[in-house]
């Protein structure tokens, strides 16, 4: 089959690779019809995430048609259309039973789990196409994908619903929803969202649906700020004003009740701390560039809530722990427990409460995927979301 493979920093290629097949009894084999490039794929593209190997197939937002199922998978049948959560979760462990699917204890293969256990204290959960820290599973920017525990993860899509309306159930829509949920929004709240990429935009949408009175969006790309505005958010261009001061003014001195860092480890901007972070990262003295997180913690009101859907992988320098403690902030974060939200969000899509198609700026074929990465990386103003279509033929 054809698949997008990683070979190093800024080096991804569409190649012919071996076809996947059913391996374990609960597996399903999916013929991918649509797959997207995620903002977090750019962290791999930029080689900020360790544990990558040349030839790894990327992609964790995908959907398609079931073409084969394992002998113990009675939940799916061949021919069904499904969206696949990027988190691989077994459904049977302590964590899955608490619906903390992104903490599943079993999906990271035994021989792969050591690295993340050393890095984070406990082994990470498996995920598609996201380095060998999360299991080294082949991803969805491919014609076919082997999906483990497919009897509990994939969600079946009714006939007649086009891919673009539901594809983002795989990751960014539940991620935006959980980001807002982690803000524990109360009536009258103002929520500030850093980063108007896909997750930030979905977090804005979700925050309103969860009862926020106001949402303030922060970015520097005019087009992305326009999209945020169209969703009902007030906007701050951080290249034009000082963010914390603007937020203080806009909230009458109280500050935002909840703040969402939808940027993560690769913040942009030329502030002094960010430039220093970039230098440190480039010489190996630090890993993450937490400029946004610092600003979030400083800007959040006393006793407020901080939600971090943005991805971090290593260590942050100059973390304002004093502000965090003295202001009594609550932080909630984590990879998304996708399986917890898919049913509810699919229902909201079908009922017209949520539309995600506004986000898609480009449709490309899988063959053009490498170009899609370049565009997404280099033209972030115009390129808000790239969806890749496969023709399904085996090459």
């Amino acid at each position: 089959m054809r698949a997008l493979t990683w070979h190093g920093k800024h080096d991804v290629r569409v190649e012919t690779v071996p076809d996947p097949a059913i391996v374990n009894p609960r597996d399903a084999l999916i013929r991918v019809t649509s797959t997207a490039i995620c903002g977090s794929d750019l962290h791999l593209y930029d080689h900020y995430i360790p544990g990558m190997q040349s030839g790894d197939i990327l992609g964790h937002e995908f959907m398609g048609e079931v073409v084969d199922v394992g002998p113990d998978n009675s939940a799916l049948t061949v021919g069904q259309r499904v969206v696949v959560p990027f988190v691989i979760a077994c459904g049977g462990c302590f964590f899955c039973q608490k619906q903390q699917y992104a903490a599943c204890d079993n999906s990271n293969p035994a021989e792969k789990a050591d690295a993340s256990e050393i890095a984070y204290g406990y082994p990470m959960t498996g995920a598609f196409g996201y380095s060998h820290l999360t299991g080294g599973y082949a991803g969805g920017q491919a014609e076919y994908v082997r999906v483990p525990y497919a009897d509990i993860g994939p969600i079946v899509i009714p006939e007649g619903i086009e891919d673009d309306r539901v594809l983002f159930l795989s990751d960014i829509l539940p991620t935006g929803w959980m980001a807002a949920e982690n803000c524990a929004i109360e009536s009258g709240d103002t929520v500030a969202v850093w980063g108007c990429g896909p997750v930030g935009l979905f977090a804005i949408q979700s925050a309103f649906l969860q009862g926020a009175e106001r949402v303030i969006a922060i970015d520097h790309y005019p087009h992305r700020l326009e999209l945020a505005k169209a969703l009902g958010a007030e906007i701050i261009d951080y290249e034009e004003v000082k963010v914390r001061e603007a937020l203080v003014e806009m909230t009458g001195g109280i500050g935002p009740d909840a703040c969402i860092d939808a940027v993560g480890m690769e913040s942009h901007g030329m502030s002094i701390d960010n430039v220093v972070d970039q230098v440190k990262a480039s010489v190996g003295l630090g890993t993450d560039r937490p400029h946004v997180l610092r600003q979030v913690i400083m800007a959040c009101r006393k006793g407020g809530r901080v939600s971090i859907p943005g991805v971090y992988g290593g260590f942050a320098d100059k973390f304002p722990v004093g502000a965090l403690m003295e202001k009594g902030l609550t932080i909630r974060t984590g990879q998304t427990h996708v399986q917890r939200y898919t049913e509810k969000l699919l229902q909201m899509i079908l009922e017209g409460e949520i539309d995600t198609t506004f986000l898609i700026s480009h449709h490309l074929s899988l063959e053009e995927a490498a170009n899609g990465y370049r565009m997404f990386k280099e033209q972030q103003n115009e390129v808000t979301k790239v969806v890749l279509k496969t023709d399904g033929r085996r090459h």
Partner: protein, 254 residues
């Protein structure tokens, strides 16, 4: 994972004040190791010391394991340290886990390096374990103690290629979280050139090897399968070999 250790009721944990004083040695009583792992630890240390000491040290360790009695507290702590591992909580009832383990032929499905375990009769089983350069080592194992739903211990019959002893305990986890599983296995590598090869193969990150085997046991019991990122039956999803001992094997062939 602190509470199961401190609240544990195993005899091993309550006998020695030495163990209770040191968090490390307390943790050891819930050691869960594969043979490969412990062979590595003991083998490596034994070889680096006086080889005449090997048999004596091994017997002391096995004695500590099987009787949970120690003549000398400090000495015992040192021995337990060599068997460090950890507990695993499996979201299944004790009986189910005990029954799986009691059928020794099941173990080849979850333990790395084990090629096969054949049950000879109710108490005796024959083990075939992968060794360097495509060879295998074999022995017969005999059940020493068997308390349904609680513990199984076994040791190799006289004349084994590698003398060994093992034990697995099952206790209810707190809060209805399933079962705490504790496994401890000690091996004594044979002397001579073969022994050195075996030790070299297996001394690679023994604790890592141990927790991998525990993870596989947990995966199999909780999900009915063993997690793998392989794309299909032939092709590994991974281009670097994770096969245990692969690095050592490569270096041996040079």
């Amino acid at each position: 994972m602190r509470s199961p250790v401190h609240d544990s009721s195993t005899r091993a944990q309550t006998r020695s004040s030495q163990q209770q004083r040191s968090p490390v040695s307390i943790g050891l009583t819930v050691a869960a190791l594969t043979g490969a792992a412990v062979l590595g630890v003991i083998g490596a240390r034994a070889l680096s010391r006086n080889s005449a000491d090997v048999g004596r040290r091994f017997r002391r360790i096995v004695d500590a394991l099987t009787t949970h009695r120690t003549a000398n507290g400090a000495d015992a702590a040192e021995k337990w340290e060599e068997l460090t591992g950890r507990t695993v909580t499996i979201n299944r009832r004790r009986h189910e886990l005990y029954a799986f383990w009691r059928k020794f032929s099941n173990l080849a499905r979850i333990l790395e390096n084990i090629e096969s375990v054949t049950e000879v009769d109710e108490r005796r089983s024959h083990w075939v374990v992968r060794a360097p350069a495509g060879t295998t080592v074999e022995w017969d194992s005999v059940i020493v103690e068997d308390i349904p739903d609680e513990l199984i211990s076994w040791e190799s019959a006289p004349g084994a290629d590698i003398a060994n002893s093992g034990r697995i305990d099952f206790r209810d986890a707190h809060g209805g979280r399933g079962t705490l599983v504790t496994a401890t296995i000690a091996y004594d590598p044979p002397a001579g050139a073969v022994g050195k090869l075996v030790a070299k193969l297996l001394q690679r990150e023994p604790k890592i090897q141990a927790r991998r085997d525990l993870r596989r046991f947990k995966q199999f019991m909780e999900t009915g399968e063993i997690a793998t990122s392989r794309m299909n039956a032939e092709v590994s999803g991974d281009r670097s070999s994770d096969e245990p001992g692969a690095n050592v094997r490569a270096s041996i062939s040079h």
